[in-house]
Symmetry: C2
Subunit: 258 residues, 2 copies
Amino acid sequence: MPECRPEAQRHRLTIAYDGTDFHGWQKQEPPQVEPLRTVQGVVEDVLQRVLRQPIILVGASRTDAGVHARGQVGHFDAEPTAIPFERWPQAINDRLPDDVEVRDIEPTRPDFDAIGDAVTKRYRYLVFNAQRKPLALRRTTYHFWHPLDLDRMNDAAARLVGRHDVAGLAAASHGRDNTVRTIHRCDVSRQDEIVAIAVEGDGFLYNMVRIIAGTLVEVGRGKSEPSCIDQILATQDRRLAGPTLQPQGLCLEWIRHR
Amino acid sequence: MPECRPEAQRHRLTIAYDGTDFHGWQKQEPPQVEPLRTVQGVVEDVLQRVLRQPIILVGASRTDAGVHARGQVGHFDAEPTAIPFERWPQAINDRLPDDVEVRDIEPTRPDFDAIGDAVTKRYRYLVFNAQRKPLALRRTTYHFWHPLDLDRMNDAAARLVGRHDVAGLAAASHGRDNTVRTIHRCDVSRQDEIVAIAVEGDGFLYNMVRIIAGTLVEVGRGKSEPSCIDQILATQDRRLAGPTLQPQGLCLEWIRHR
């Protein structure tokens, strides 16, 4: 990527947010009459006000409306400012609303690309698995009241690990030519009412983690067998997979870059 | 209390709620132009629709706006209905919004009084004690970023246990003649960033738990000494206690009745 501003320094930042009140990560283009509140829009706006220059913030993962993040990664270029660099984080966080926070910010090499250099991402999907209502947890979990068999879910999850064509686990609108991805890890654990599905891989297609979660929940409930994963990966048939679970159970945990 | 409707059966119910979007427990009187959304109002309305009769719901604890409950207790009288009693809970919960749930409902003696028969209540106040923002936890915790010394806080908490005049730990507007209460238990514990202050007693004056939490936080931060509790209890001087912490950290855990 050519440097248009020779004075500019590229920065990498880690961002956490409660996705409840955001229309996802990405700014809506073309401009809306009433612009939707997005993480990219809110953070870019604060960066511009603090650093007093136009900023373009690129995010590694375009999380959907309602999806949360603990470790979204972005990059932007900025020319030197009157504010010393070590005071940027506080100046930025003081101006950001309560539902988004810059956790880390550091200068990086000029060709660092938050999207292209991402090598591993980890997501977590939380299911509130009890008859009673999740109440305050309804914003961060999906409520499923039928009992879930975690042994069956982990049997299915283990079959996802490896390098596969995962087109059968993506929304039809994923828009990618290459649908081969490597899943490094997938496991399911329970703590009290909360069942956590953790997935780590080199990349995910559109809605993929929510579809994996929906498929594992159907296996855990006994509506399909763990071996359905083998069939989905062999046939790329989306109809064999489970439903796309609601966004609020999903959290982007971290991203590793080369 | 005289029984006006001889056919009526008194019921006791346990209610849990996320207080974020409620203007507290109590219905506002006289009727507002736009009635405020309260837990009592919402639950009473659903009880009336399910049981098809006028219902007056009495709650043991008038929690403030933003305060949560896991175990609020109420009572109401209802005449027999077409719906069998065992189907009431689901019929009620299906109609209640996502932020409130009836956890238990059972017939009780005709003179059971949710307010007058309460003998012990337990509250919990949560402090998010870290520099980073609580994000999704901002609705259920109070954010305090200075380090807290839990040994000091527990030293102060232990001094609260016993029978005392607690007027110095209540909002001036508590409106009670008798301000002597027994605190059975008060302790402070930490799990990761969350510091939990648990208080159990035979009754609490207005804002009392939030003022206890504010006082213990000042002790934990080093702004006052654990012995300040002795002074507050000896003098009943509200000015010696800490601030009234924000409501969203407070949760009514349970109430025991005679």
